[in-house]
Symmetry: C2
Subunit: 157 residues, 2 copies
Amino acid sequence: MKLRDHHSIEASASPDDHIHGRGLRMTGQRRAVYDALMGKRDHPTAVEVFMRVKGKVPSISLATVYNCLETLTDCGLVKTVNHDRESARYCPNLAEHAHFFCESCGGVTDIPLRAKRRAHDIWELPENVAISHHEISFRGLCPKCAKAAARKTTKSK
Amino acid sequence: MKLRDHHSIEASASPDDHIHGRGLRMTGQRRAVYDALMGKRDHPTAVEVFMRVKGKVPSISLATVYNCLETLTDCGLVKTVNHDRESARYCPNLAEHAHFFCESCGGVTDIPLRAKRRAHDIWELPENVAISHHEISFRGLCPKCAKAAARKTTKSK
DNA sequence: GTGAATGCAAAACCTTTGCAACTGG
DNA sequence: CCAGTTGCAAAGGTTTTGCATTCAC
């Protein structure tokens, strides 16, 4: 298992370089959205970003903010939290487990917890929080689709 | 840290008992929705459940399916995946981390990964999956709100 | 100059709500 | 009986889309 690296941003590479590296253009809107996110290191929604950016680029539209956020995410400059705008799904498995969503076939698989492990073994959760729910999701290609993708890549080379 | 137990369903307790235990009624719709979920142990959306149940209870409406799914979830008979129907949020922290969502104040906090730990240390992920993203979210009360809630409970006793 | 990006408005989508009618215990 | 549930239709909120206009390179 390998996690694709979205995080390898050298301090030297500017946002512009990242954007240009993908053959994209650095526009005033993209810069403003990026600055709005970096200025306050919180977790704003698209609408909150929109309101912040309005001050600097009054003509900007909400659709453009969504656009810019998607572009920045694709370039690895920003992470999207709660991107699950798909429908909620319901699961009769009541044991503690995570879910794997295949981006190719759309399948959802249960991922069991290894014996004797608990979530706070690996995350630095504050001692005094009261946790009521937790949700762990992985996205990528399931074994079947990963194999199919590998076959295609090999052929095309 | 304690995880509230949603999983302690004894084999002896029927769905009816669970529903009745909460002072609620077991209706034909609730039973049909429950059966549709237990019949195929997959992860259907509300609309998919709706389509399955239509065959048995033709008069059922989608709103009722949503209703039943919520009730069953509240009773601990079913788990909801992807319940994050809040807006997507955007995060400038590119290091690997989880998020904590406070259900009281709405705040979002970054939860860092403990040093030298990796997600597959605790979940039994298949070897041959290609993971592109993963998202870990905890929900509950942040330290500040947990303290406030505890104070209120103590007083009212 | 030219394709990429924007702005606008409208559409799409999932989920919730209000309310009259119905029903399980 | 009667509070809890349902069904319907309409509203709500977030995100996407289509297209003419503008702009970065």
